[in-house]
C-alpha cells in the first residue's frame, strides 16, 4: 500500500505522520501549478485557448492556470457565440455542467461557469463569465447545448440569473412562488420564516406558516382522536 514514491504515502518509519496536500485558496505556489499530484492535465488546452483568442480577440478576458487546469474568463455578452464556436469548430461536443458562484464582492459579484468536454480529443475546458449584481442577465446557451436547459433553470433558481432566450425559464427546485434565491450568500441557512408553508395540521385547516410548529407547541391531531393519557 505504502509505496515510497507515492507522495501521499506516510513515512514507513513514522506511520503516524500525516501528509496533507491542501489546496490554498488564494495564490498558488509556482511549483503547484504544474506539480500538483492531483492534476491530470485533462483540463489543459492551450491550443484551444489560442484558437479562442484568434477568433474572439478581446472577448477572452484572461486565462487562469491552477493545478495544471485552465480557466478561461470570457465576456458575458459573447458566451453563446463562444460556446457555438467551441462546439462546432473545436469539437467540444459534451456539455457537462453549468452553475453559479457567489463571491459576495462589491463588483462582479457572481460568476457562471461552464464545463465542456471534447470526447474526440479527450480534453475539458472551463469557461467562466463574470456577472454583476446590477445586470443579472446572462445569454442562454440552450440553443447550442440543449443539456444546459435544467442547469440554467437551477442557476436561476439558486442565484437569480435571468437567462435570456431560455425556452422554459422556471425554477428547478423551489416552488414557483418562492421569493428568494437560496444559494446567495445573504440568504439565511434555515430559510426565511413564512416563505415556505407547511401543510395544514388538520385535513381542512389553514396552511402552517411556522416551520417549527411542533417546537412551539403545535400537536397535529388525528381525525381518529387519541384519548387523553393519565398523566395529563
Amino acid at each position: 500500500m505504502s509505496k515510497p514514491d507515492d507522495p501521499r504515502a506516510s513515512d514507513p518509519q513514522d506511520p503516524e505522520e500525516l501528509r496533507f496536500h491542501f489546496t490554498p485558496s488564494d495564490e498558488p505556489k509556482p511549483e503547484q501549478e504544474t506539480d500538483n499530484p492531483h492534476a491530470k492535465g485533462t483540463t489543459r488546452v492551450p491550443e484551444v485557448i489560442e484558437a479562442l483568442r484568434d477568433e474572439f480577440g478581446a472577448a477572452v478576458l484572461d486565462v487562469e492556470r491552477y493545478a495544471n487546469e485552465d480557466t478561461v474568463y470570457v465576456e458575458k455578452r459573447r458566451i453563446r457565440e463562444i460556446c457555438r464556436f467551441l462546439k462546432e469548430e473545436e469539437n467540444f461536443d459534451y456539455f457537462i455542467d453549468l452553475g453559479g458562484i457567489d463571491n459576495f464582492s462589491e463588483e462582479d459579484r457572481y460568476e457562471v461557469f461552464y464545463n465542456l468536454v471534447s470526447t474526440e480529443r479527450q480534453k475539458r475546458i472551463r469557461l467562466k463569465i463574470r456577472v454583476d449584481e446590477e445586470d443579472m442577465r446572462v445569454p442562454s446557451v440552450v440553443e447550442v447545448y440543449r443539456a444546459a436547459n435544467w442547469n440554467e433553470r437551477e442557476a436561476y433558481d439558486m442565484f437569480g440569473f435571468t437567462f435570456v432566450d431560455h425556452p422554459d425559464p422556471r425554477r428547478m427546485y423551489m416552488p414557483e412562488d418562492f421569493e428568494y434565491h437560496p444559494l446567495r450568500k445573504e440568504f439565511p441557512q434555515l430559510g426565511v420564516p413564512g416563505s415556505l408553508p407547511l401543510p395544514p395540521q388538520t385535513p381542512d385547516g389553514e396552511l402552517t406558516m411556522d416551520p417549527f410548529a411542533a417546537a412551539h407547541g403545535s400537536k397535529p391531531v388525528k381525525s381518529y382522536e387519541e384519548p387523553a393519557t393519565d398523566s395529563e
Binding site: L198, T208, A213, P220, Y224, P227, T229, D230
Partner: protein, 215 residues
C-alpha cells in the same frame, strides 16, 4: 352496548370486543411505505425475508393510502414533498398510525437547511419516532411492536362509535409511561382511576373503579 352507557362506556362487552378488535388490528397492520431517502432501503430490509415483518402481520406494504393504516415516513422530507405526504396521510382511512423513521424524518437530522422540514411532526401526528441514520431494520421492528402495543391498549369500540366526552375519559397509558418515556407498557388495573359512572350499575361488574382493560 357499545354506545355511551354511562361511565366511559367500558362495559364488559366493549372491553371484550376491544380485545378482539385490537388483537386483529395490531396483527394486521398494513404499512404505507413513504420512502423518501436511504431509510427506505432499510425499510425494505424490514419487510424482506431476513427481518421478516410478516412475523408481526405487516408484511403487506400498501402503496395505496386507502388500503394502509400505518404510514412509515422514511427519509428526509422537503417542504415541497410535505404537502404530498399530508395529502396521502389525509387519504388514509381511520384508524391510522404514523412512524417517523430515522433522524431526518424525526428532526430534520443533518439537513439543517431551508429546504428540509425539521421533523415531520410539524405537520403529522407521529406516534413513534425511530432514532438512527438510517435505523437498523430491528429498530423498525421495535417501532412496529410499539405501535402494536399502543393499539392493544386502545379503547377501540369507544373511539370508533363515540366521539366526544367519553373518549377523553378513556385512559390509554399507565402513569408509569411518563416515567419511562418510550416504554409502552400495558396499563395496570390498579393504577387506573376512571371517573365514577353517571348512572349506577351500568355494567355487569357493578364497580368501574378497577376496570379490566382491554389487552
Amino acid at each position: 352496548m357499545a354506545g355511551p352507557s354511562g361511565g366511559n362506556g367500558q362495559g364488559f362487552f366493549t372491553t371484550r370486543v376491544d380485545a378482539l378488535l385490537n388483537w386483529a388490528r395490531s396483527n394486521s397492520l398494513m404499512p404505507m411505505p413513504m420512502g423518501l431517502a436511504c431509510c427506505a432501503i432499510e425499510m425494505m430490509g424490514f419487510a424482506g425475508p431476513k427481518y421478516d415483518s410478516a412475523r408481526f402481520g405487516s408484511e403487506a406494504m400498501r402503496f395505496s393510502p386507502r388500503q394502509a393504516d400505518l404510514m412509515i415516513v422514511a427519509g428526509w422530507c422537503s417542504y415541497k414533498m410535505s404537502h404530498a405526504i399530508r395529502r396521502v396521510w389525509d387519504q388514509m382511512g381511520d384508524p391510522k398510525w404514523c412512524v417517523a423513521m430515522g433522524a431526518c424524518a424525526s428532526t430534520g437530522g443533518m439537513h439543517r437547511c431551508y429546504g428540509v422540514v425539521q421533523g415531520v411532526d410539524n405537520f403529522l401526528p407521529v406516534d413513534v419516532y425511530i432514532s438512527g441514520c438510517p435505523p437498523r431494520p430491528e429498530s423498525v421492528l421495535h417501532a412496529l411492536m410499539d405501535i402494536q402495543e399502543k393499539i392493544r391498549n386502545e379503547y377501540s369500540v369507544v373511539q370508533d362509535y363515540e366521539f366526544g366526552k367519553a373518549r377523553e375519559r378513556a385512559p390509554i397509558m399507565p402513569e408509569n409511561t411518563s416515567k419511562f418515556p418510550g416504554q409502552l407498557e400495558k396499563p395496570k388495573a390498579t393504577d387506573l382511576t376512571l371517573e365514577a359512572p353517571d348512572t349506577a350499575a351500568d355494567d355487569a361488574e357493578g364497580s368501574s373503579s378497577v376496570e379490566p382493560v382491554a389487552a
